[in-house]
Amino acid sequence: MRPTPAVLVQEIGHQYGSLAALSDLTFDVAQGEFVALLGPNGCGKTTLFRILATLMRPTRGRASVLGADVEADPGAVRRRIGVTFQSPSLDGRLSVRENLRHHGHLYGLRGRDLSARIESGLERVQLCDRGKDRVDRLSGGMRRRVEIAKSLLHEPDVLLMDEPSTGLDPAARRSLADLLAGLRRDRGLTCLMTTHLMDEAECCDRVAILDRGRLAALDAPSALKACVGGEVVTIHAEDAGALAGRIREEFGVAPQETDRGLCIADPRGHALAARLAERFGDRVRSITVSRPSLDDVFLRLTGRRLEGSGDLGG
């Protein structure tokens, strides 16, 4: 028998009036697995996040966390999950410690046990010396770290994170990644995070690519990138449209026009790049060859780019 999945999403659909935010979404997350929901703003990832966090009912379909149905048994789901919200769910007028204490009380924690958890939580996010400060006097990045400490305080089995890196500087992002990896190693933590940042998604075991409420792909980052092809050639040119036509005629490959330039996925990209440079050297500003990124995967699947989709969440 297969172990119960940490998160199971079955044919979930959600409508806002006539607008379909999610259509027929099905996937699961195994216990101890880290999965990223990757997609641009408005792709439905925050809607799915809110459904799994028991804050919203889906229009159709079912979802469960460690076997507990989010609709039928939200209480059981709430006891097992930790939630890191995109806009921190903190009380600005309370101190960092007061916020954590209050959160502990909501989860039935109290006394010495709670105090010890608060101190170790602050240590985890390197905020021991700011415990007495009011939250509205902290920087955005620090608030984010308090939010993370808060979502881990009750030692959840499944962590749901909505754009966890928003507002974090690169050093804090690295320490968050280390913290999560440590919790997975020590306690078998499962993590499902929404993100529009490729490097964040790359660190996960699997990436679910969401496009306009549909699951476009779900696989390990390396497998997703492998299906793009060996290398990606990106060409910057003034008259990209006309050049794309010429390339198609003369080289028999179909470049995709993007805001980053013309992109061609090719198993032998570097050789193609050399030939392109020789033929159209006078018409291009630059030609680069790179290994495919998840952005290239997204482009291949949807015809659009992820990058530059902003920081506002979907």
Binding site: H14, I51, A53, T54, L55, M56, R57, P58, T59, P74, G75, R78, R79, I81, V83, F85, S87, P88, S89, L90, D91, G92, R93, L94, E98, R101, H102, H103, H105, L106, Y107, G108, R110, K150
Partner: protein, 267 residues
């Protein structure tokens, strides 16, 4: 989940939420000043201004200043109980509420925390006004003080429940303010706080009868030393009717708020 309200987890969660309401209040000095000074001002202006201009029948021997005192207490409790629940709109907008709703705390304990917090704030503020009573000749016995506090608590529980029901889905503080002023001013004016029912026209009397605040004001008057006969002569309800209405009103509002909090948007 319903059972959880009575369990220790529910009490812990509700207590923590109630405590937070009080701490937040104390960290906003503007709220304290506004909450205490408005009714004092109203009482003083109404009592000393109107007191000599009209001779209102049924106000009793103490004069209008004394009559208006119970009304001022009712106003403090009405305004602070209802406006304390405004915090739920801020909580939603600032994101705090989503963290509470995603927690396993029973929905009933979330509502209870808000209502207990708002009730405590309302009763303490009305209590501050009560301290001023002897300065103007209103004499309250020790038993009377307890009676007043009990009536204030019952009123505040119902009113903060009403406030919470109205605030739960409200999108902006401004909109809530506008709507609630429209509800609260008539509620206060038609509660016997400003004039007794005995001299009022038929439809005003009818409105006073269905206004739950009327029963609280009557109980406050009785606690402040008003005789039952005088109250009955002024058209106020009796003690058992008053307590029954206050308790039923509070129970209905608390249950309604709990239902609302348990519902998730979506399907």
């Amino acid at each position: 989940m319903r059972r959880g309200l009575l369990g220790s987890r529910g009490v812990l969660a509700a207590g923590s939420l109630a405590r937070r309401e009080v701490v937040r209040f104390l960290r906003q000095p503007g709220r304290i000043v506004g909450a205490v000074s408005t009714p004092v001002l109203f009482w003083f202006l109404l009592g000393s201004g109107l007191g000599r201009s009209f001779n209102v029948e049924g106000v009793g021997e103490g004069g209008y200043l004394e009559y208006a005192f119970a009304g001022a207490l009712a106003m403090v409790v009405l305004f602070t109980a209802i406006f304390s629940t405004i915090t739920v709109i801020e909580d939603r907008r600032e994101g705090f509420l989503q963290g509470v709703l995603a927690s396993p705390a029973p929905r009933g304990s979330i509502v209870a925390g808000k209502i207990v917090g708002a009730t405590m704030l309302a009763v303490v503020q009305a209590g501050l006004l009560l301290v001023l009573a002897p300065l103007t000749g209103v004499r309250v016995s020790a038993g009377g003080v307890l009676h007043v506090l009990a009536a204030l608590t019952a009123m505040a529980a119902g009113l903060s429940g009403l406030g919470l029901v109205a605030a739960w889905r409200a999108e902006s503080v401004q909109g809530y303010h506008a709507v609630m002023n429209l509800v609260m001013m008539p509620m206060w004016l038609l509660s016997g706080a400003v004039f007794p029912a005995s001299g009022a026209s038929g439809w005003v009397r009818a409105a006073m009868t269905v206004n739950p605040l009327t029963y609280g004001v009557a109980e406050l008057r009785s606690a402040l030393g008003g005789s039952r006969e005088a109250l009955r002569a002024a058209g106020a309800p009796g003690a058992s009717a008053s307590w029954l209405v206050m308790i039923v009103f509070a129970a209905v509002m608390i249950v309604a708020a709990e239902r609302l909090a348990g519902r998730r948007p979506g399907a």
